[in-house]
Amino acid sequence: MTKTYLKASLASVAVLASLASFASAGAETVTLNIESWRNDDLQIWNEKIIPAFEKANPDIHLVFQPTAPTEYNAALNAKLSAGTAGDIITCRPFDASLDLFKKNQLTSLNDLSGIDKNFSEIAKAAWSTDDGKTTFCVPVASVLHGFIYNKDAFDKLKLTPPKTVAEFYQVLDKIKADGTYIPMAMGTKDQWEAATMGYQNIGPTYWKGEEGRKALVAGKEKLTDPEWVKPLQELAKWKDYLGDGYQAQAYPDSQNLFTLGRAAIYPAGSWEISQFKSQADFKMGAFPPPVEKEGDTCYISDHPDLGMGMNAKTAHPDAVKKFLAWLATPDFATIYSNALPGFFSLQSAKIDVKDPLAQEFLSWRGKCKSTIRSTYQILSRGTPNLENETWVATANVINGTQTPEEAAKHLQDGLDSWYKPDQK
């Protein structure tokens, strides 16, 4: 039995080996595999992006091979370690990719054409070493936070998008009093909604965007300072405006509540735009996070989310670089931004986005000051992980199982346990 088994396995290895050599001998074109967590974009890559690239580069064939987002990091790490990962790697922002670069699994792209010219330092920050000298992924897209609202509902209730925090609560109160709609579609079950759509959405207004974030990284501000506790206190008030049983409401529930027309306001990331457009049968508008007083500077989270780099072990570095250089061109940015409204290009050149809701989000870049999510750079490098702790803490605050002050203290204590700003 064992013998036949061994024979069978040997035979199949031999067959496979011959197949492999046959394939490489017969092919002139180079095939590059792309690793990604963006299952959502499979169609767009296959129908728009890949054909556009292959048309200009007929000798390169691209295969987009996405993995479920929850498995991506683990699967990618395993494949990189064993040398079976694809040629092109989609890069998570900050430490996940920095770690790959430090392990020599991603290569420096400093000599890539367009990387200096077409991107600002800020755009590259998420995929550069701490000293900013080496960039290892081409920045592809960032996402913005704000609120999407049901325009039909607002018209029916004669509401206008709020500009200040006070107006924000007035609007919510009116929707609640009317009772037709759930005021706000958000749940705490998946926890990241509370942290990302809640905390990182309204927070920059209080901690003054980059100013506060940098002070926090430098250790000059603490999470227990009023400007960092305030957003948690605001979140604690949100629970009165969420749907019944929001504690068990998961992210897809929130999306469906809003697009099925049952909720009036959706604390959003700009990535929702294209899906909402195709699913909602009502008009939608968007407003940026409200400011404290009329005339205050507004702050928005404009967060680098996705880049692409080269697997250091690829057999075709030249072809990969050709593709990455193409990613740095406005041609690509135009195709990508319009195929995926809500994923905004990080290139310095102005890209024309046609979708009106995406335009609305994009217009805030001119009016408000941009910042990135406070927990992403450096502060989530140790254990406990500040980003993950923030998920839990913000959900607890909204659930009412922890006060904003307790949550803030817990987060700061966790950070203090490993982070010493002076030694950065």
Binding site: Q247, A248, T401
Partner: protein
């Protein structure tokens, strides 16, 4: 060379032939890679990514460093609750169903048996989705069913509350896996020879008392196996909680068990990078917990259990 020696040598060869295929595949594909991984628990990397031998330092971190220890003990406690719920709910239901199914000449037996086993065959993605939908306060499956019988006040967002999430997830797991004890017990009940049953009937032992007095003692070894498999399965459980409650096993880690804690640490999650060294440490501790349980079974319980040969 005497005949006896020849026989003995031949017998030895049989043993090797019977054992080797399993041992080879199992050792090469499973034990060696796992041993490599567990070995990592004795190492750690420093800021420069250099790896050092640290002895039992990682274990000290896990048990003593307050943040690690808090997570570990929380996960261990939850895991015991999870296991207890399976022992008191899943296994008795499994035994009861198997006993009912083994009633002779029961019409519809094959249908019932299949129906009970269908949940066990589902993928975790489906189970997570189905129960989240059913228990969701928004889409109203449970609230409207309870409303129909005027019990709507009983409803709460169970999966979202710290007090009820763990019990709810454990019961979902019971729902999914009750087919396993049922099948094992059923197979054991089928193995009881007709002669034994007929003899019992001769003595007038029938119905429920036949089950309690004759069959149950005969299937005790199988119940032992079921218990130890439940223990092992529960202390390795991961997928259901991962798909229903996420990698952070919310709310506020109230559904975090050793499996989710391990995977989060080993493979990383979101911005948290995978830490193979601490992950391996947790895996090693889990391994010893499970090993202790299995050894307790093998050496304390199984050895004393009376087996009947048919």
């Amino acid at each position: 060379m005497s005949d006896i020696q020849v026989a003995r040598r031949q017998r030895r060869w049989h043993i090797a032939v019977f054992l080797l295929p399993a041992l080879i595949v199992y050792t090469a594909i499973m034990i060696v890679p796992l041993a490599q991984t567990l070995n990592l628990s004795l190492f750690h990397n420093d800021a420069q990514n250099a790896v050092h031998f640290v002895g039992i330092e990682n274990f000290r971190t896990l048990f003593v460093e307050p943040r690690w220890a808090a997570q570990f003990w929380n996960a261990l406690r939850n895991n015991f609750v999870f296991f207890l719920i399976h022992m008191v709910v899943q296994n008795p239901i499994g035994i009861a169903l198997a006993a009912l199914l083994s009633i002779p000449r029961l019409p519809g037996r094959a249908f019932y048996r299949t129906a009970f086993f269908v949940p066990t065959m589902l993928s975790f993605v489906i189970v997570g989705f189905a129960w989240k939908l059913i228990l969701s306060p928004i889409w109203g499956v449970t609230p409207s069913i309870l409303g129909a019988v005027h019990l709507k006040w009983l409803f709460a967002p169970w999966l979202g509350k710290e007090s009820s999430a763990l019990i709810t997830v454990a019961l979902i797991s019971v729902w999914q896996f009750v087919g396993i004890p049922m099948m094992l017990i059923y197979a054991a009940l089928l193995g009881i020879p007709d002669e034994v049953i007929e003899a019992a009937e001769m003595d007038g032992v029938v119905g429920p008392s036949q089950f309690w007095k004759i069959k149950l003692p005969l299937i005790l070894p199988t119940i032992g196996i079921v218990s130890v498999l439940t223990f092992v399965g529960n202390f390795n459980a991961f997928d259901l909680i991962y798909s229903a409650q996420g990698a952070l096993a919310g709310p506020n880690f109230s559904t975090d068990i050793l499996g989710t804690f391990l995977y989060r640490t080993f493979f990383g999650f979101q911005l948290q990078l995978g830490d193979h060294y601490m992950g391996a440490t947790i895996a090693t501790v889990m391994f010893f917990i499970i090993l202790a349980g299995v050894c307790a079974y093998l050496f304390l319980i199984q050895k004393r259990m009376r087996r009947y040969q048919f």
